[in-house]
């Protein structure tokens, strides 16, 4: 009886989970589908054909042609892939380099106007990109950085969001531990490096994962600041795809998912803490 009740509870949950996972299945089945089959299903949406778009999770003639085409015949994909890797890693490094000390300073040092700065950070964090786009463009243009990767990297490096997440983690470190370190003769730098960073590692990692995902998926910034196509990240590859090579699009989407998935899996537990911390910010 208890099993039956348990099963009745799981069934809707499984259905819901399947619904949520459908895009993943959609992408995976699209990769192994023939081009003609994809045209048949997606023609009404992408090719202007009559009728409604449909989908089948099990391809009629499975093939890896799309994947091979992406890997062997699309050097453009790899140019954009490495551009994305470069931009994401630079952003992560920058955030680590500048965001961690900033968060530590805001969390652990008391100075005049600290609350005002914190409020400014929160306000800036809440501003969407569309608001900041024009000021950023003007500044980058003035600095001569437009149409270079720095135009995308630098604004992201000094983003307020990771500082805010790390601020929460650093703030939660008990003052007694820092006092003990001071008593043991540790200076501020030593306390930051040997006490603050290890104890706030969860916050740093979770902000890193969130920062990577954000930079990996960013579309508006490269579209706005990068004119030269060879500088584009992978996120701009998919908009270039039409019905003729929609299979290539699916394969590229799956390949694009892989790094994000690996990052996510490696820092899953920190990410959960980070998201929880972010949820507390309001």
């Amino acid at each position: 009886m208890a099993k039956l009740v348990k099963g009745m509870v799981y069934l809707p949950l499984i259905l819901l989970a399947a619904l949520i996972c459908f895009p993943i299945f959609f992408a995976i089945s699209g990769v192994v589908m023939s081009n003609w089959e994809l045209k048949e299903y997606l023609g009404p949406v992408l090719g202007g054909m009559d009728g409604m778009a449909s989908w089948s999770l099990f391809p009629k003639s499975p093939t890896l042609q799309s994947l091979i085409e992406v890997l062997m015949d699309s050097p453009q994909f790899f140019v954009m892939f490495w551009n994305s890797i470069k931009i994401s890693l630079c952003i992560l490094a920058g955030q680590t380099l500048f965001g961690v000390p900033a968060a530590w300073g805001l969390a652990r040092f008391s100075f005049p106007g600290r609350n005002a700065v914190l409020t400014l950070y929160i306000v800036l964090m809440l501003m969407p990109f569309q608001v900041l786009m024009l000021p950023q463009y003007l500044v980058l243009n003035g600095a001569g950085l437009l149409d270079t990767h720095w135009a995308v990297i630098l604004p992201a490096v000094f983003s307020t969001f990771p500082v805010f997440i790390m601020y929460r983690f650093f703030s939660s470190i008990p003052e007694e531990i820092l006092e003990a370190a001071r008593i043991d003769g540790a200076g501020s730098l030593r306390i930051f490096l040997h006490v603050g960073i290890p104890l706030g590692a969860a916050g740093i990692v979770s902000s890193g994962i969130l920062g990577f995902l954000e930079s990996w998926n960013m579309i508006e910034q490269p579209m706005t600041f990068l004119k030269t196509k060879s500088l584009w990240p992978l996120s701009l590859f998919l908009p270039e795809i039409g019905l003729a090579d929609v299979g290539v699009g699916f394969a590229a989407a799956i390949l694009m998912l892989v790094p994000a998935l690996l990052i996510f899996l490696s820092g899953q537990e920190y990410l959960e803490q980070g998201i929880a911390a972010a949820a507390l910010k309001g």
């Binding site: 890997l71 062997m72 015949d73 699309s74 050097p75 453009q76 994909f77 790899f78 140019v79 954009m80 892939f81 490495w82 890797i85 030269t228 196509k229 060879s230 584009w232 390949l255 892989v258 790094p259 690996l262 990052i263 899996l265 490696s266």
Partner: protein, 727 residues
């Protein structure tokens, strides 16, 4: 999954991505065409025309000899150079002599034939003249004989009348002058004359029709056989016909007093300016004149014309067929018979009325007749023209076939149709004249019968007998008058037929020509005999072809064909249509040939002509100076034509043609792509001003002098193709 494993997977993933990055780039570059580029040059386009040909003679000379001669010896061989006067070959003189003798004999025979033909022609001419003279004599005899008959009949009539008059005088029953009986007799006489005249006219019309039909048929046949002469002959025929008609018209109208017949025939005399009266040259003329004075002739004539309409119009309104003619003729006979049997039993009142009617109608009828006769000549001439024109029209469309029987029938029918009105009018006139004559006679007979019935029986019987005699003599006279006309027509026809020329005979001239030809052939044979059968070269030359062989007989074709070296040599070569565009008459070319590669420079092109069979081939002829190349030698012609300087000239390999045959070049163009700056080929349409085998001159505008142009590629390149420029 621990982090270490995840890290390895991440590293592996990146390594794989790195590997595929390299592989995909390598694959991508393998598909890119490597091209070489050049800048357009400022240069001239040179057209080189090179062709190999042969040296040939400018003129050939054919050595021809008499056919059917046996060749004794040939002293030259093919390719041999000969001088003027050099012995070429020799013929067998024995056979030549035989042939000369045979030819002389043949000529003798031909000469005899010529003479025979001439003699035959003379005989024919004499026979022709004789038959013409005979026909003319026959004509004269027939007409004379008929005239004699007429004179006799007239004499008999007069005798009968005199006898009647004497009888009456003796009985005291002489009719008073101007009395009823005399009037009736005069009327009778007039009607009789009118009848005779009408009958003669009918004969004349019938003859005319036959003549016109024959002429038209003859013309149709002649036109078919001698088409060109049709135009010339027609007017002659027409003229002769017209003349004949006129002559007959004159003869029977009595206007010509040249023949004996005319004296006894009818005469036309204008009387008092009111009307023409037809009379006989006898005693009745006066009586008729008296009657005329009593009757208002002019008034009656007007009335008659008004009632009947214009004579010409009347003719047009009434049509009679040939069948009708026969019927009418039959009717005439019947009427004549009836007339002779008519019993004289009428009362006295009717003849007087009848007399007035007849007398009044007699004159207009004759006036009408006069008009018709004069119209007839004109009508006939017109009709002759029409009839002759019909076969002429047939020949104009170029048909030279002889006309079929159906066509001839058609022609005959059309001629007869055209005369139908005239014939009908004449027939009607005869009929009317006969009827009137019968009525007048009947009236006279009735009057006389009545008169006699009141006299005593014996005298009455005698007078009746005498009257019957007069009537019989009258009829005999009428028949004789008609017979005169018929005899003249029939005999005239014979004269005309005798005058038709014989078919042309050219056998005598033909024989003469044959004789002349034989004479010419004999002279040639004798000349050959004089030369002892030896044939010499008439000019310096090279023997090209020998068509005779020793021991065989010669033919009438060329015996030996010689290249006449005295006229010089020329070089001929075949060039293509494209080459022909650059070389023309007067261009200076260089010839290279001979065993030592002798070079002749600055030789002018004499002619460039198209091949008669293949229009893509042209022949170039170049005159060669004497004593340079020899006949049959192979030589190479070189010619170079330079154009003006063009600022934009590209190698021909850079020029492409699209599907619409429009010329274009491809230029490399850099563009921004995901892979960085890449190069693609861009199509630029150009106008080709001139080109040769290696370069093309382009019009300025589309391409600048500094623009690199793709001139070669290791792969097929088209508009939009990615390329890489070779270093």
């Amino acid at each position: 999954m621990n982090r270490g494993k995840l890290g390895k997977i991440a590293v592996l993933f990146l390594a794989v991505m790195l590997l595929f990055t390299v592989l995909s780039r390598a694959a991508d570059q393998a598909g890119v065409a490597v091209v070489t580029t050049e800048k357009p040059e400022n240069k001239m386009i040179t057209h080189d025309v090179k062709a190999t040909g042969k040296v040939v003679q400018k003129q050939n000379q054919a050595v021809v000899t008499e056919p059917d001669q046996r060749v004794k010896a040939i002293y030259v061989s093919q390719g041999q150079q000969v001088k003027k006067g050099e012995l070429l070959f020799e013929l067998d003189t024995t056979q030549l002599e035989e042939q000369i003798l045979k030819q002389q004999q043949e000529m003798e025979k031909q000469k005899l034939q010529v003479e025979d033909a001439r003699s035959q022609k003379d005989v024919s001419a004499r026979q022709k003249a004789s038959s013409q003279a005979g026909a003319a004599e026959q004509y004269s005899l027939s007409v004379n004989e008929a005239n004699v008959q007429l004179s006799r009949a007239q004499q008999q009539l007069e005798d009968a009348k005199k006898e009647l008059e004497v009888f009456r005088k003796s009985n005291g029953t002489t009719p008073e002058t101007g009395g009823v009986e005399e009037t009736l007799e005069n009327t009778c006489q007039e009607k009789s004359d009118a009848y005779v005249l009408a009958q003669q006219e009918l004969n004349q019309v019938e003859w005319k029709i036959e003549n016109a039909v024959n002429t038209a048929l003859e013309n149709a046949k002649n036109a078919a056989s001698v088409n060109q002469l049709a135009g010339k002959k027609t007017p002659e025929t027409e003229g002769s016909l017209e003349n004949e008609n006129i002559s007959y018209g004159k003869t029977y109208a009595g206007e010509n007093d040249g023949t004996s017949a005319d004296d006894t025939l009818i005469d036309i005399e204008p009387e008092d300016g009111t009307a023409s009266l037809w009379t006989m040259e006898n005693t009745y003329t006066q009586s008729a004149g008296e009657i005329l004075e009593e009757v208002d002739t002019a008034g009656e004539a007007d009335a008659w014309i008004a009632a009947e309409g214009e004579p010409g119009t009347e003719k047009n309104e009434i049509l009679y067929s040939a069948d009708t003619l026969e019927l009418i003729e039959d009717d005439n006979n019947v009427t004549a018979n009836t007339e002779s049997q008519l019993p004289p039993t009428e009362n006295a009142a009717e003849p007087i009325i009848s007399l007035e009617t007849n007398a009044s109608s007699a004159l207009p009828e004759e006036t009408d007749l006069d008009l018709i006769i004069s119209d007839d000549n004109a009508d006939q001439t017109d009709n002759s023209n029409n009839n002759i024109a019909a076969p002429e029209t047939g020949t104009e469309d170029g048909t030279k076939q002889p006309p079929t029987q159906a066509e001839l029938d058609q022609i005959e029918k059309s001629v007869r149709d055209s005369y139908r009105q005239e014939l009908s009018a004449a027939q009607k006139k005869v009929e009317t004249a006969q009827k009137e004559k019968e009525e007048a006679e009947s009236a006279l007979a009735e009057y006389q019968q009545e008169k006699l019935s009141s006299a005593d029986a014996r005298n009455a019987q005698s007078e009746k007998q005498l009257l019957a005699n007069v009537k019989t003599a009258q009829q005999a006279y009428e028949d004789a008058a008609i017979a005169v006309n018929k005899a003249a027509v029939t005999a005239g026809r014979s004269v005309q037929e005798a005058g038709i020329p014989d078919a042309s005979n050219s056998s005598d001239r033909s024989n003469e020509i044959t004789y002349e030809q034989m004479e010419l052939a004999l002279k040639k044979l004798e000349k050959l005999k004089e030369d002892k059968g030896k044939v010499y070269a008439e000019a310096d030359g090279v023997i090209m072809k020998i068509n005779i062989s020793t021991g065989e007989k010669t033919t009438d074709t060329t015996a030996i064909l010689m290249a006449d070296t005295s006229k010089g040599y020329s070089f001929t070569a075949d060039i293509t249509k494209e080459q022909e565009e650059y070389i023309g008459t007067g261009d200076m070319v260089t010839l290279t040939g001979g065993t030592k590669d002798q070079k002749l420079e600055e030789l002018p092109v004499e002619a460039v002509t198209a091949d008669e069979e293949d229009d893509s081939v042209y022949h170039v002829t170049v005159q060669i100076p004497e004593d340079t190349f020899s006949i049959g030698m192979t030589a190479t012609m070189d010619f170079s034509k330079k154009s003006e300087t063009y600022p934009i000239s590209v190698p021909l390999s850079a020029l492409h043609l699209d599907s619409k045959n429009q010329a274009y070049v491809l230029i490399p163009q850099e563009y921004d792509s995901i892979m960085g700056t890449e190069i693609k080929a861009l199509k630029i349409g150009v106008t080709v001003l001139e080109k040769n085998e290696s370069y093309a001159a382009l019009a300025e505008g589309a391409l600048s002098g500094q623009q690199e142009v793709i001139v070669s590629s290791d792969k097929a390149v088209d508009d939009g193709s990615r390329v890489r420029i070779a270093e």
